[in-house]
Amino acid sequence: MLITVKLFATFRQGRFKEDRRDIPAGATVADVLASLAITPPEVGMVFVRGRHAEIDRPLADGDVVSLFPLVGGG
């Protein structure tokens, strides 16, 4: 299935801003993290199609996965 992965803030270092990639059916957010060498404790937020998702969330064709480290502001 084709998904889009978007990385933000420090996650972009040594990686990319946005990437379209083919992943196997049944793959989860955790699998995407592993493929990027991002460990779960580093993750602040995961959005799938603009909604919060847990790391064990299975993905579907056309999903947009946005990954942020722990950030904050005001």
């Binding site: 978007k6 933000f8 803030a9 420090t10 972009r12 801003k17 602040g44 937020m45 959005f47 603009g50 909604r51 919060h52 946005s66 942020f68 480290p69 722990l70 950030v71 904050g72 502001g73 005001g74």
Partner: protein
């Protein structure tokens, strides 16, 4: 801190008074709100002789506690018509606290046209007629005070907007680099202007270290506190690197970035105005990506943003400002946005209220969408000079909306809504609707839990749990606002139980008290209740605890949701 300075601008006299017992345990917002609620008639005209302008350092200000440099300013707001407390960084709070001054109260109003500059010293306040800086921007005022006195002086000032008594006017505070921080919201600059005070210079001569009841306990608690500030990813790394602007992409991905006057939740040019782009630009131009607005700040969320040639343009380049200019008013050029941030600092206008106002003006056809150059012209000419158009703009978002017949006017209690759309982020909608401050995001920053996964998780797209979340945050925030600590300490405080303990230990070690977490909660509740009672007496009844109608009628993309919280559920906010 053992004395109160009262400055009477009607008869130009000054009194130095002891601190009344009832105020001894108060500081920051708790103190300014208590003084305003007890001494200002709620129905007074905010620009008249009966309003007061109160400055108070926080309970930990002036000590070596990390991040304790905040200063509170309170009054009746000319914008909301209710009570207002605003908080700013800069250098003044620490000096005022270490001069032993618990609060400076400016009251009355001079009869004539003469302007004044005040000088606060260890002995009192001198009031001198002022001509040199009248009509000038805040940068020039700071330079003038530095030259007349020394660079070590604290400076609090208003720009032309405050002189013009405009509801968008803010009050500026000098930072360690002689740049500007702001008491931003609620038109406090107009109150200072109505009292004909152009600046307040603070003479550090005679500052002493504050006496601590238990210095060893204080030091140990501060060490632990600093460790937690550095250990939490938000305060330890995230804010230091990207500043608050990191949120542009966060809130855009979440679908809650108000775009083109709150008509969409995502902005096509988000990348050009993002924190990541700001960071890359600063680094490429050899600016400073990290910068502190006051001494002993561990977080350093500010930055120094240069132009292409490396010249200073602005600092304290905030998410709110970049969102409002970049997404809400559709300016897609970070350099134009930075120039506007600097202009707003100089002219002395709130960098949330002003661009949100301009977006409504754009919808009304007063200027084209995204036209930053025209906006700069309107600020530098019309707002600065007080032309009729400038005065309409200077009245703020609701005033412009009313003047031009616009219905999509994003305000609560007449104050502009900040950088988070309430429709897909329900928790912040509760805060906007219920806060005594009007639409205010810092008053109960539900974004932390609705979006950032700090302090737990509450689904932003559902109404469940949002009133309780906002209530707890508003109570905690009212307490933190009284300590003089920067609100960003809330990030470690929400995730690390020992953080609040360290803060309470520092309070107890400073004052020889035995406060508990329950006492901190009680203080927060007390502050909110005092403010709420003032607002009710001022005419801001329960019907003002609501969002504008258009949020209920217009769904916002991409989530296509409206604001639909039951009014009765929202009203349960005050059940405490």
């Amino acid at each position: 801190m053992h004395k109160i300075y009262r400055v009477n601008m009607t008869d130009l006299t000054v009194k130095v008074e002891p601190v009344p017992q009832a105020w001894a345990g108060l500081g920051g917002r708790a103190l300014t709100s208590t003084i305003v609620a007890s001494e200002v008639p709620p129905t007074c005209h905010p620009l008249g002789p009966n309003n007061k302008l109160v400055f108070a350092p926080g309970l930990l200000s002036g000590t070596s506690a990390a991040n304790a440099g905040r200063f509170s300013c309170g009054s009746k707001s000319p914008l909301t018509g209710g009570i207002k407390e605003s908080s700013a960084g800069g250098t003044a709070s620490r000096i005022v606290a270490r001069l032993g001054i618990k609060a400076i109260i400016i009251e009355g109003k001079p009869a004539g046209d003469t302007w004044y500059g005040l000088v606060v010293t260890k002995d009192g306040v001198t009031i001198r007629p002022e001509t040199e800086t009248i009509g000038k921007g805040n940068f020039a005022v700071v330079q003038s005070v530095n030259q007349r006195f020394t660079d070590d002086f604290g400076v609090i000032s208003i720009g032309p907007a405050g002189e013009n008594l405009m509801a968008i006017a803010n009050i500026s505070v000098k930072d360690p680099d002689s740049r500007l921080r702001s008491f931003g919201r609620g038109g406090l600059g107009a109150v200072m202007g109505a009292k004909k005070v152009k600046f307040i210079a603070v003479d550090p001569e005679g500052v002493t270290n504050l006496k601590l009841a238990d210095p060893d306990k204080f030091k140990a608690a501060n060490v632990a506190f600093v460790q937690m500030l550095n250990a939490h990813p938000v305060t330890g790394q995230g804010l230091k690197k990207f500043g608050t602007a990191v949120l542009i992409n966060v809130i855009n991905e979440a679908g809650g970035l108000p775009t083109r006057n709150f008509t969409a939740g995502q902005c096509a040019h988000h990348d050009a105005i993002s924190g990541e782009t700001m960071y890359d630009t600063i680094v490429a131009r050899r600016g400073q990506p990290s910068h502190k607005c006051s001494l002993a700040c561990q977080v350093q969320c500010s930055q120094v943003f240069p132009d292409k040639d490396g010249n200073y343009v602005t600092s304290g380049f905030e998410y709110e400002t970049i969102w409002a200019l970049g997404a809400d008013a559709m300016i897609d050029d970070l350099d134009v946005i930075a120039a506007l941030d600097s202009a707003m600092d100089d002219i002395g206008v709130d960098s949330i209220e002003t661009p949100v106002m301009f977006a409504v003006a754009m919808e009304a056809g007063v200027l084209p969408w995204g036209d930053g150059r025209r906006m700069l012209q309107l600020l530098r000419e019309d707002v600065t000079k007080g032309t009729p158009l400038g005065r309409i703009l200077g009245g703020g978002t609701a005033h412009v909306g009313r003047s031009f017949g616009v219905t999509r006017v994003p305000v609560v209690k007449n104050q502009a809504i900040p950088a988070y759309d309430p429709r897909p982020i329900k928790g912040i909608g509760v805060t906007y609707a219920t806060s005594t401050m009007g639409a205010d995001h810092t008053a109960g920053y539900a974004i932390a839990t609705n979006i950032l996964n700090v302090g737990g998780k509450v689904d932003p797209l559902k109404n469940d749990g949002q009133v309780e979340l906002s209530r707890n945050l508003q109570i905690a925030t009212a307490a933190i606002d009284s300590t003089g600590l920067c609100l960003f300490i809330a990030f470690p405080a929400l995730d690390m139980p020992n953080c609040l303990t360290a803060v309470i230990d520092m309070l107890n070690a400073r004052y020889g008290t035995s406060l508990t977490a329950d006492d901190v909660v009680a203080l927060g509740k007390q502050v909110l209740k005092v403010e709420h009672e003032f607002n009710l007496a001022a005419g801001l009844g329960p019907e003002t605890d609501r969002l504008p109608e258009f949020f209920e009628l217009e769904p916002i993309a991409p989530h296509n949701v409206k604001w639909d919280m039951d009014r009765k559920e929202l009203a349960t906010f005050w059940n405490f």
